[in-house]
Amino acid sequence: MTSPLEQKKIRIAGPSVVTANRTWDGIVVYRTAANSWSAELSEAAIVRNSDEAKALLAEAVADDVGAIGPYIAPVQIGDDGKVQPGNLREQIRRTGVTIGQPAQV
C-alpha cells in the first residue's frame, strides 16, 4: 500500500478521494468533507488538484484512531454526477471480491 509519506509530492491526474480502512474493523472508508469517515464512496470529499488532495490527506492522517493507511485514490465522475472508483483495485475495495466465496461456489 502506498503510504502517505510516499505521496508527499502529490500530483493527481483527475478527481480523487482519500480512502483508508476503519481502525476497529478494517472496512474500507472514505474521507468526507465533514472531517469524518464514511463507508459510502458517494459521501467522499472529491479533490481536484494537488493542494486540495494534500490538505485532505493531512487531515485524514491526523485521524489515526478513526482509520489507518490513508491514501489518495482516483475516481471517475459520470455525467449524472455519480462517483465511481478509478481503477480495478479501488473497484474491488468498494464492491468486494470478484469471485464467489467458498460458501457460494
Binding site: W24, G26, D64, T98, I99
Partner: protein, 551 residues
C-alpha cells in the same frame, strides 16, 4: 500429535493477554498505528484491501481435530464462514475485526493454537512434510526437529528483529514435499556413514522479486549441532544482511552477493565460536520432544481388504483412490490427500462446515489427526484401507473428493488482487477459470502430473517461479497482464521456470494454458512422458511458438 507442556500453554495464554491490552490501547488512541503495526504483525494481523487479515500458524502442518474445530469456530464467529490454507502451513481469515481479534486468539489458545511469528521480520512458522511420520522410507519424523527449532526460535530476541522475514522448512524423505529449496534455510534429514542422524543444510532459497534456488552450505551437520549451526547462519545474516533496502534484505541476496563459499566460511567461523556451547543439544532434550509426539496404535490389517477390492469396481472411487491415496509406512493404512481445489472454487479455501465435518471424519477414520500441505490441500495421515470407500463417500458429500491431486486443476494460487493490498492482478479468478476449463477428469488424467502456480504480484506468494506452468499477474497501463513461465518445480529437483514471452491479458490466460497443454500432448513421445519431461527434452521453444504463433 505433539502434546504441549505447561510452558507452551503459559506462553500462548500470556501472549493473548498482552495482545488484548495492545488492541485496547490502539483502539483508545493510546498507541498510534505506527507504534501498533509491529505488534499486530507479531500476532499475524495484516491489513488487506477490505479488512484485517489474521494468519494463524499450524506448526509443521499438524492439526488435532479439536484444533480444526476451533479454526471452524473462528471462521464462523469472527469471519465470514471460511478460511484460506496457505503455502506455508498457515490458515488465513480475511474479514476479521481488530476489536474482536483478542477474543479469537483466546478461543484458539484454548486448543494450543496461536499466531506468533506468522508475520513480521522474524523466524516464521517452521514448516515440514505433510506426510511426516507416516511416509514410507522416511529417515525420522521431521516434526521432532521442527518442534525443536520452533521452541528455540519462538520469541528469541536475536531472531525477532531480523533484516527481513526468515523461513525454515524440513524434509526427511527423498521426495521433497516441503519445498525446502525455496526457503531461507532448507533442512534435509539424513544419516551419515556412521548411521548418525543429521542434516544437509541448504541456504538462500526464496522466490519473490529475485528468485533463487537454495544452495547446499553443508553436506552434514549432526543433529546435536543443528541449533548452533542455524544460529551461526542467522548471526551472519543479522550482521551482514541489508536493512537499508527491503528488496535486498532477504538472506538469499546476501548469499548471492557474498557467494556461497564466502558465506559458508563466515558461517563456519561463527559456528566454531558457538557449537560447543549450551546450544549443543542433549539427547535427552530430543528424546523428550520425541516422546511428546504420540502415534496411533495401528491394527494389524491386510494389504488389500475386501472393502477396497469391492469398491474398485466403482470407476469414480477408483479415480479418486488412484489420485488421492498414497502408501503409508504401516501395512493396511493409507495417507489420504483431501483436495481443496473444487471445480470453480478458490484454491485452498474451506468453509467452517467443511472444517467441522473433516474433524469428525478425522476422528472416525484418522486417529483424530489432520495435516496441512504447502500445496494448499489437507491430508488424513492414518486411514485404514478398509475405510477408504466410506471415507470417499463422506468426502464427496462435503465437496472434498475432487480427484485432481497433482493434476492440472490442483492449482496453487495466492489471494491476489481480490484480497491482497500488495497484489497488482487477480489470481483466484484465473485459477477458477482453469479448473472449469480442465474440469473433465479424464482429460486431466490424460495430461498427468502438471502443477500450475499463480501469483498476483512479484512477491510470488503463489510460488509461480516453481510452477510447471507459472502465471504471474502484473499491472500494465492500468490493466492486468499475466506473464507465463514454464519448467519450474519445487521438489528435490527444484528449478525456476523460464518466461516464454510477452504477457497476455486476463481473459487470454486460460487459452494460453490450453495451448501449452495441447502442445505438450502433441509433443510427448509416450503417455508416460510427463509435462516436465517434455519441457526438459525440448526446452521452452516449441511451447513459445505454439502460444505466440497466433497472438
Amino acid at each position: 500429535m505433539y502434546a504441549y507442556d505447561e510452558i507452551d500453554r503459559t506462553l500462548v495464554n500470556e501472549r493473548v493477554s498482552e495482545f488484548r491490552d495492545q488492541v485496547k490501547r490502539r483502539l483508545s488512541g493510546e498507541l498510534t498505528e505506527d507504534e501498533f503495526k509491529i505488534l499486530r504483525l507479531q500476532n499475524g494481523v495484516y491489513l488487506q484491501l477490505h479488512a484485517y487479515m489474521f494468519r494463524v500458524a499450524i506448526p509443521y502442518g499438524t492439526l488435532a481435530t479439536n484444533q480444526m474445530r476451533a479454526l471452524a469456530h473462528v471462521a464462523r464467529k469472527y469471519d465470514r464462514g471460511y478460511g484460506h490454507f496457505t503455502t506455508r502451513q498457515n490458515i488465513q481469515f480475511n474479514w476479521i475485526k481488530l476489536a474482536e481479534l483478542p477474543d479469537a486468539l483466546e478461543d484458539l489458545a484454548k486448543v494450543g493454537i496461536h499466531a506468533m511469528q506468522t508475520s513480521g521480520n522474524n523466524m516464521r512458522n517452521v514448516t515440514s512434510d505433510q506426510w511426516a511420520g507416516v511416509a514410507p522410507g522416511e529417515i525420522e519424523d521431521p516434526r521432532i526437529w521442527s518442534e525443536l527449532i520452533r521452541q528455540h526460535t519462538t520469541l528469541h530476541p536475536e531472531f525477532s528483529f531480523l533484516p527481513r522475514k526468515f523461513k525454515i522448512a524440513i524434509t526427511a524423505s527423498d521426495h521433497d514435499r516441503a519445498a525446502i529449496k525455496i526457503h531461507d534455510i532448507g533442512l534435509r534429514l539424513i544419516k551419515n556413514e556412521k548411521g548418525e542422524t543429521g542434516f544437509e543444510v541448504l541456504v538462500g532459497g526464496g522466490l519473490g522479486r529475485t528468485p533463487f534456488i537454495a544452495k547446499t552450505i553443508k553436506h552434514f551437520v549432526h543433529g546435536r549441532d543443528i541449533l548452533s549451526y542455524i544460529e551461526a547462519i542467522l548471526r551472519v545474516y543479522n550482521q551482514y544482511g541489508r536493512r537499508d533496502n527491503i528488496y535486498k534484505a532477504r538472506i538469499k541476496i546476501l548469499v548471492h552477493e557474498l557467494g556461497i563459499e564466502k558465506f559458508s566460511r563466515e558461517v563456519e567461523d561463527e559456528w566454531q565460536h558457538i557449537r560447543n556451547s549450551s546450544l549443543q543439544i542433549d539427547e535427552e532434550v530430543i528424546e523428550d520432544i520425541r516422546s511428546r509426539f504420540t502415534y496411533p496404535v495401528y491394527e494389524k490389517l491386510p494389504h488389500m481388504p475386501d472393502e477396497l477390492r469391492q469398491a474398485a469396481a466403482d470407476p469414480d472411487f477408483e479415480a479418486w483412490r488412484k489420485n488421492s491415496v498414497a502408501p503409508h509406512k504401516v501395512q493396511g493404512y493409507s495417507i489420504v490427500t483431501i483436495s481443496l481445489k473444487p471445480t470453480g472454487g478458490p484454491p485452498g479455501d474451506a468453509t467452517a462446515e467443511q472444517m467441522d465435518a473433516l474433524a469428525d471424519l478425522a476422528d472416525k477414520y484418522s486417529f483424530g489427526e489432520i495435516r496441512v500441505g504447502h500445496e494448499q490441500n489437507l491430508a488424513l495421515p492414518h486411514v485404514a484401507k478398509r475405510d477408504l470407500p466410506a471415507l470417499w463417500k463422506a468426502l464427496d458429500k462435503l465437496g472434498l473428493a475432487t480427484p485432481n491431486v497433482n493434476l492440472i486443476t490442483d492449482i496453487i494460487a495466492c489471494p491476489g488482487l481480490d484480497y491482497c493490498s500488495l497484489a497488482n492482478a487477480r489470481s483466484i479468478p484465473i485459477a477458477q477459470e482453469l479448473t472449469r476449463r480442465f474440469a473433465n477428469h479424464e482429460l486431466a488424467n490424460l495430461i498427468g502430473r502438471l502443477h500450475i502456480n499463480i501469483s498476483g504480484c512479484i512477491n510470488a506468494c503463489g510460488h509461480h517461479h516453481v510452477g510447471h506452468i507459472g502465471i504471474l499477474g502484473v499491472e500494465k497501463n492500468g490493466e492486468e497482464v499475466y506473464q507465463i513461465t514454464i519448467g519450474g518445480r519445487a521438489d528435490e529437483n527444484a528449478a525456476l521456470g523460464t518466461l516464454i514471452g510477452p504477457g497476455v491479458k486476463f481473459d487470454e490466460v486460460a487459452d494460453v494454458v490450453e495451448d501449452i497443454v495441447e502442445a505438450y500432448l502433441a509433443l510427448r513421445e509416450r503417455p508416460e512422458e510427463l509435462f516436465m519431461d517434455t519441457v526438459k527434452r525440448l526446452g521452452v521453444e516449441p511451447f513459445k511458438e505454439r502460444v505466440y504463433a497466433t497472438r
